[in-house]
């Protein structure tokens, strides 16, 4: 089974985000970059399935030349192929992103049986790219998945609901958008990292679609909730209040 995981290069931020002077972007001067956490799980799942079935796992990204780093992380995690849809680094809207990815996947040499997306990207949170791509490719899709099983030509995908899961069965080929917790993504090893640095990455430069989309005006950082932790009490008397919070959080 051939799999593909779409990943996105995002900065690793702390609790407080600093913006560039023009409020158009995050100031990433002192930040590192990573793959969105949901997508790391997507890569892990794609790699595991390809390993189990003897297929090819591909990682794909749309992003700046620097996103090469994340593709290589994907390779170091076990992906066999990498496709880089290179942009000038400008943030693309979800519609343009989805079109470019769909075209990129269609143009790829090998057909793909299962496509993994993050349920939403860590930085943009548009909740739609995977679904749009599925529609463009004419594939069934289900979102927010935290467990995946293959049963012949069917993928059994589970989504968490209060007190349990709801189960979807989709015919393969299909698209799944996944959430952190699906699996424990492996960390690359030193050796796989070294090998990944020498791997080849297929590169294309897609056209940016002009479709009407949500347009960013500017960014702002919210009034921070600096409020300290709500102190429920001191000493053993606090137990009652703790239980009340447990109830409120519905974890009992």
């Amino acid at each position: 089974m051939n799999t593909l995981a779409c990943i996105k290069r995002v900065p690793e931020t702390g609790a407080k985000i600093v913006l560039t002077d023009d409020n158009q972007a995050i100031d990433t001067t002192s930040l590192g970059f990573t793959i969105s956490p949901h997508e790391e799980c997507g890569v892990e799942e794609a790699v595991q399935l390809a390993e189990e079935t003897g297929g090819t796992a591909t990682v794909l990204t749309l992003g700046s030349p620097e996103a090469d780093e994340q593709l290589r992380t994907g390779i170091a995690m076990g992906a066999d192929e990498a496709i880089h849809l290179e942009t000038d680094g400008e943030q693309w809207g979800p519609r343009a992103t989805a079109s470019a990815i769909a075209e990129g996947i269609e143009a790829a040499d090998e057909s793909v049986d299962l496509l993994f997306f993050g349920n939403e990207s860590a930085d943009q949170e548009n909740y739609q790219v995977g679904v749009r791509v599925a529609h463009m490719l004419g594939l069934p899709v289900v979102t927010g998945i935290k467990n995946v099983e293959i049963d012949g030509d069917t993928v059994v995908a589970e989504r968490e609901i209060s007190g349990g899961t709801e189960v979807f069965e989709l015919p393969i080929p299909a698209v799944l958008t996944v959430k952190e917790g699906l699996n424990s993504p492996r960390y690359p090893s030193m050796r796989s990292k070294m090998q990944a640095r020498r791997a080849e990455v297929a590169t294309a430069t897609p056209e940016r679609s002009e479709a009407n989309d949500v347009e960013m005006i500017e960014l702002e950082t919210p009034e921070r909730d600096d409020s300290p932790a709500e102190v429920l009490g001191e000493g053993p008397e606090a137990a009652e209040d703790v239980v009340a919070v447990l109830e409120e959080l519905e974890v009992i």
Binding site: N126, Y127, A239
Partner: protein, 325 residues
């Protein structure tokens, strides 16, 4: 007209729906238009009444023979049909799993832009709506513009408060049957399964109780084990406790151990050094138990108990056990 997607459960609208309805009413008021709602399955009268209080005039209850359970494409197509019928200027959904999924399909099918994670809408922009949406889990806000017919928006759950209209109205309940095809049900909930909570692994547990140096010994982890059992959770530990030999390395939470993202993390006797925090910062809520009010973990937690875990944890367990009975 402004249309809001509703979800209901056990004869009541769920709270995220009421939050979305609150925003939708505001949008409708700005547009000077009525507010209508669309729900799936049999919508009980109580729900319609509740929505009436939130300013909804009409509730369309979508029913279809094949629509036996949640099916995102079928939901999206139904809303699409209703849009064609009713021509709303905005369609709004709660940003729940279903709301977000349905609207992603809707946007794809209708070839429309979709603004997700919205917290505020100003319909009077020069070009379309000016809105504020959350990003980065709420640590960043984006002011954005959307200009389509209609504008599709999803609302961040639990960020805006649900407020009934100042003048309560009454919602009319109308049944609506869309034209759906077989293909629209390819993706539909097949079955539900109860979660199996026995021996849940630490990186999949909904609740994790963590113990650190403050626990004091391997034996004292019993209290934390009991608490975790009562909450169907798992026990983890800081590196210090592993180094002391109190816990196996498998339990370790931190940069060189497990990374967890439970709904609730309860670190007890853990000071919260960076190495540890890296492993648990994905937790939705953190309830810290520590004797030191200046401990790092207190600064990062949502809830704090300033107490000796040896005193407070048995007390919590006692209360929980009573409740179980």
């Amino acid at each position: 007209m402004v249309l809001v997607l509703i979800e209901h459960d056990d004869g009541a609208a769920i709270d995220t729906t009421l939050e979305a309805a609150t925003i939708a009413r505001d949008v409708a008021a700005q547009e000077d238009e009525p507010l209508e709602a669309v729900g799936f399955g049999t919508v009980p009268g109580d729900v319609a009444d509740e929505l009436g209080e939130y300013g909804v005039d009409t509730v369309f209850a979508v029913t279809h023979d094949d629509l036996t359970d949640y099916a995102p494409v079928a939901w999206a197509k139904s809303v699409r049909e209703l849009i064609d019928d009713r021509e709303p200027s905005a369609v709004i959904a709660p940003g729940t799993d279903r709301g977000a999924e349905t609207f992603a399909h809707l946007a794809a099918i209708a070839d429309l832009p979709l603004a997700a994670n919205v917290v505020e809408v100003d319909t009077g922009g020069d070009e379309g709506y000016e809105l504020t949406r959350q990003r980065w889990g709420g640590s960043l806000l984006e002011d954005a513009r959307i200009d389509a017919e209609p504008n599709l928006l999803t609302i961040v759950p639990h960020e805006v408060s649900a407020e009934p209209a100042t003048e309560a109205g009454e919602a009319t309940l109308e049944s609506y049957t869309p034209e759906l095809e077989e293909g629209d049900f390819i993706v539909q909930v097949d079955r539900r399964e109860e979660s199996d909570t026995e021996g849940v692994p630490i990186d999949q547990a909904r609740v994790v109780v963590g113990g650190g140096r403050g626990v004091g010994s391997a034996a004292d982890f019993d209290q934390l084990e009991e608490l975790a059992d009562l909450l169907n959770g798992a026990v983890g530990s800081s590196r210090a406790a592993v180094n002391e030999g109190w816990r196996p390395h498998d339990d370790q939470i931190g940069q060189t151990g497990n990374k967890i993202a439970p709904e609730l993390y309860i670190p007890a006797g853990i000071s919260g050094a960076v190495q540890h925090w890296v492993g648990c910062k994905g937790s939705e809520k953190v309830l810290a138990i520590n004797t030191d009010p200046e401990a790092a973990i207190i600064g990062k937690a949502d809830y704090a108990v300033i107490a000796d875990l040896h005193e407070v944890v048995p007390e919590i367990n006692r209360i929980l056990k009573e409740k179980h009975r």
